[in-house]
């Protein structure tokens, strides 16, 4: 069978809807990974030993195993203990937690790099430890960490393709469905790749823009 790209416009609506889902899932997972990353980082650095340990275990599990396996666990595993999540929710949680762990690593390093004097000064000025963390240390650390987190978010976009495997109708699965009808895998996977590439370029552009804005206000 030869190639025929003229068939693509007919299914463009399906592909574009898939794009919208991919963007939505990426955005939701990105927000989750950002909040989760800050939370994990604060716990890893400041929580008492007993609370720290389970988080270290989670971190270790998430960094040492493939994302695909983690998605299977969350989607199929939680059913075992009675939590039946819709696929897209499981996908967002899986992606979000996975990248929260990677973001947490970055944020931890950044928090440690914020001068210790900052914490001491804030405490001297009468802020409680939590206040000092929330209002002085973490905001500075988060700013320092935005460029590398941007790279993680671009990785997240690409990894969002994996949730197609648990049945979320995002871009990859939309392409697959169209292929099921048309038997034209090359054309439609290439089309999907092009869509990812464009979203990726847009994210890189946004990342550069944000980085420039942060560096000016410093």
């Amino acid at each position: 069978m030869g190639l025929g790209f003229t068939i693509i416009p007919k299914y463009l609506d399906v592909i574009l809807l898939g794009c919208a889902w991919t963007i939505g899932i990426t955005l939701a997972a990105a927000i989750l990974s950002f909040i989760g990353g800050i939370l994990f980082a604060v716990i890893a650095l400041y929580a008492p030993w007993l609370i720290r340990q389970p988080f270290r275990l989670i971190e270790w599990l998430f960094m040492g195993t493939p994302l695909l396996l983690q998605l299977f666990l969350i989607y199929f595993g939680l059913v075992q203990i009675g939590i039946d999540l819709p696929a897209f929710v499981a996908g967002i949680i899986g992606l979000g937690l996975h990248f929260a762990v990677y973001n947490s690593e970055l944020i931890q390093t950044a928090i440690l790099s914020v001068d210790k004097g900052q914490m001491e000064a804030a405490r001297t000025l009468g802020l409680s430890r939590t206040e000092a963390l929330r209002k002085v240390v973490v905001p500075q650390a988060v700013r320092a960490v935005i460029p590398p987190i941007g790279n993680n978010m671009i990785a997240l976009l690409k990894d969002s393709a994996l949730v197609s495997v648990i049945g979320v109708s995002e871009l990859t699965l939309s392409a697959q469905r169209v292929i099921g009808r048309t038997y034209r895998p090359f054309e439609f996977y290439l089309m999907a790749a092009a869509c990812y590439y464009v979203i990726n370029l847009a994210m890189e552009w946004l990342q550069r823009k944000i980085e420039r804005r942060i560096s000016i206000s410093r």
Partner: protein, 210 residues
Amino acid sequence: MLKVYPFFLEAAWITILLAVLTAVLGLICGALGAAARLSRFAFLRFLGAAYVSVIRGTPALIQLFILYFGGPQIGIQLDAFEAGVIGLGVNAGAYMTETIRGAIISIDKGQREASRTLGLSQWQTMYKVILPQSARLMVRPLGVNINALIKATALVAAISVVELTYTAQRYIGSTYKPFEMFLLAGVLYMIIIYVTGRGVAWLDRKVQIT
């Protein structure tokens, strides 16, 4: 539960084999990519940059699908394992291109100038002066690439290569014990990653001068 162990161990070997072959192909692609990106010829530089940008800008899963499902349409017939190795290897190569290139350009420019002044040719400068130094810098970041690549081998489960993740998925379906199956596969992945990490750390120590 006991019955599944042999299948998981066998699958772990497939994962290791995949990872090794992918790493070798990735290194070859990475070396070629870095050479292209640092070439004198603008066309080769463009090819290298396009390779890195396109591969790193699209999901590895889609790349595998294009190769495995789309390949036959343009006359490329591969079985799932071959498609997995080639797809993942070319993917890893793009990341390794940047690692290798970064290590090469981080060598001080004065080194190149000094070697050229001392009468070494461009090739000699590269092979006797620049590369031996940058090779030392490459070990650790290439280790990071290889760590990512081991986890990326799970993707070939989606084109039904019977490796660890596929096996876990299969037994999650038949035993309804997702946590146990996940843990079993997860532990095996972590062992593979841990051993590889130690190997990289050992090599890194070995190549340092002091």
